[in-house]
Symmetry: C2
């Protein structure tokens, strides 16, 4: 692929937005020089879906020195894993895979799920169990990750408490805009989650990387600010972060929402319903087949191409580029392309679901045992 433009779900103007976002908030572009320092580049990096970072140099340095670092992520239990949560999961697993000295921290935000959605803690447990089955099927090494539930992790709430003394409304408002008290409270708990790996009982302080969607940057900025403020008393190193672009849903909507079920492909979805969704996905096709043969399709606008194949299901860069030009020049029409895509997707879903079904015990252990 000569250029990442085709992979941008927001079109040209959105590229401008990401640039603006980076400039405004000081997110660094993920330069080729930096990528070369990594043992290998993940598909999401090669395709510039992960477009930026903060301080990733501290992780590169840890890799070069063979020293410990932490990778941090979490979920607010709400439902089954889908393509969006697959993205962050793969990034988490990727950063863990780069070094035997990397340790994963995975927060299950069950308190937040209760507070916001009145999901009982036991129900959160079941949801998280299901999600962890997906993560294990995606390749997560259970020996490398510490999974905890917010409701059981005293140290995170302790940190939130301490951090409440180190912020002002001005800081919070500058970062998040005017938001309800509860959101600010949650933000401090999330800062606690992100810095939890750096506490002494977790062998901290140590460099930490948090792979997130671009919309999560406010949490990263707040946490880095708090880490700096508590450098002296708690020894924190401001966490690094990588940022991925926000992908559209299957119907081309810019934000996934459960209110639009046709837009979301779940990792444990039945093949029949998955096929229906893929076949009805938003494409970059023209009004008529005739027109498309003449003018070519618009793969950069196409959910099948951008969100499904490029972001998720076609690992081979060369094949992806071929497909791009086949579409662009009108050599392949949407029907055939969808059929090919479905072949890949259904194969992936079948394999994933077969792996996943064997992961219940391992997921249960992760949720109930302290791994390290």
């Amino acid at each position: 692929m000569a250029d990442a433009l085709v992979l941008d779900p927001w079109g040209t103007s959105s590229i401008k937005d990401y640039t603006k976002l980076m400039q405004q908030f000081g997110i660094e572009p993920l330069s080729e020089e930096l990528v070369k320092e990594l043992p290998y580049a993940h598909r999401l990096i090669r395709r510039k879906i992960i477009f930026g970072h903060r301080d990733l140099g501290i992780i590169v340095k840890a890799l070069q020195e063979g020293s410990e670092y932490a990778v941090m992520t979490g979920i607010k239990p709400s439902g089954d894993f889908h393509l969006g949560t697959k993205l962050t999961s793969e990034e988490f697993i990727y950063f863990l895979s780069l070094s035997p000295k990397a340790r994963g921290f995975f927060a299950v935000a069950d308190l937040e799920a209760y507070a916001d959605n009145r999901i009982p803690l036991e129900e959160s447990y079941q949801i998280a169990l299901n999600n962890l089955m997906d993560m294990l099927a995606l390749g997560l090494d259970p020996k490398r990750v510490y999974v905890y539930r917010q409701s059981e992790e005293m140290s995170v709430l302790r940190l939130a408490f301490i951090f409440s003394r180190s912020v002002t409304y001005n800081t919070l408002e500058a970062i998040y805009g005017q938001k309800p008290f509860s959101l600010y409270f949650s933000a401090l708990v999330q800062a606690g989650d992100i810095l939890n790996p750096q506490l002494p009982h977790n062998d901290g302080p140590k460099p930490t990387v948090v792979p997130v969607g671009a919309d999560q940057d406010p949490h990263i900025r707040l946490t880095r600010d708090l880490a700096s403020k508590h450098r002296d008393d708690l020894g924190f190193i401001p966490p690094a972060a990588t940022y991925h672009k926000l992908l559209r849903d299957l119907t081309g909507q810019e934000k996934m929402s459960k209110r639009n079920p046709m837009g979301i492909l779940y990792l444990n979805e039945g093949l029949k319903s998955a096929k229906l969704k893929v076949m009805n996905a938003y494409t970059g096709g023209r009004a008529t087949a005739e027109e498309q043969r003449k003018m070519g399709g618009e793969p950069e606008k196409c959910v099948i191409f951008v969100e499904l194949l490029s972001a998720h299901f076609l690992e081979d860069d060369k094949k992806l580029e071929e497909l791009y030009w086949d579409c662009k020049t009108g050599r392949i029409l949407c029907g055939e392309c969808k059929a090919r895509a479905w072949e890949l997707i259904s194969g992936w879903l079948r394999d994933h679901q077969a792996r996943r079904s064997k992961m219940r015990d391992a997921a249960e252990r992760l949720l109930t045992e302290k791994t390290f």
Copy 2:
């Protein structure tokens, strides 16, 4: 004593303030009818230092029915116990003494001490240990109280988290005025402390009474509001509270402060320094002995009379009334009165400190073991 006026450290205008306080915020006066329903009236009730309450009827009802109720208090570890902390401790012990079905909950706010004063958790532990030795010497039955450290009490921080969803800035500002984020955060944690006795693992929900100083009413109002909001999902009963007047320090200042050490009498204070403080206490004496013999003293303005003897060290109502009139009519001058007071106070301190010195092991057990 015909009238409680003499016991009011604020003078007549301050009585007006307490009345206004009660009217404005809906604190009920502690009526004689209600007091009669209690098994016995504590010195602080008889002398109307405890002047008001909210919902104390729920405790009276529990007493009459012989059913369970909780008594809740806590400290932010900061230093040794003094006359101010003795007041709340005695109230706590009093409400526990009224029924074998009463259970005490005592919160050690070590997280708050760390967050506000950077007191390490281990130091808080030592301070709390010392404080508990005083409480045991004051008569606290260790079998009747559950002592916990905020830093170890997951359920309190869970509650604070949940409550953060149930408040708005408007509510918080209406109750506390415009305050920094950290204070609002603390307020939610304190609400968590107060409702902790009502959680299922503490055999809740059940009626709870919190004896506090009048300045603590905002916490009670917030907590009652949150309890009402979570009546359906968590079953909370809005907690009852009793209110005591704020007493002056030994030098007659209206608020005790460590910046004025001559004003504070510590329960474990050496007799020499205690005597110095008592002998230099602010009195209601006249300019000259001559004048005082003629006009009489002003016991209602006198720290020896109001704060030391009436509030703390002279249990016998009759003797207190005699002293009042002896002073009022000029039959006794300040020198003699101070000498008598010192006799009582030094005797009390000696006894208390002897009892206290044997309480280290019991205090340690309270801080480290779950009592029930």
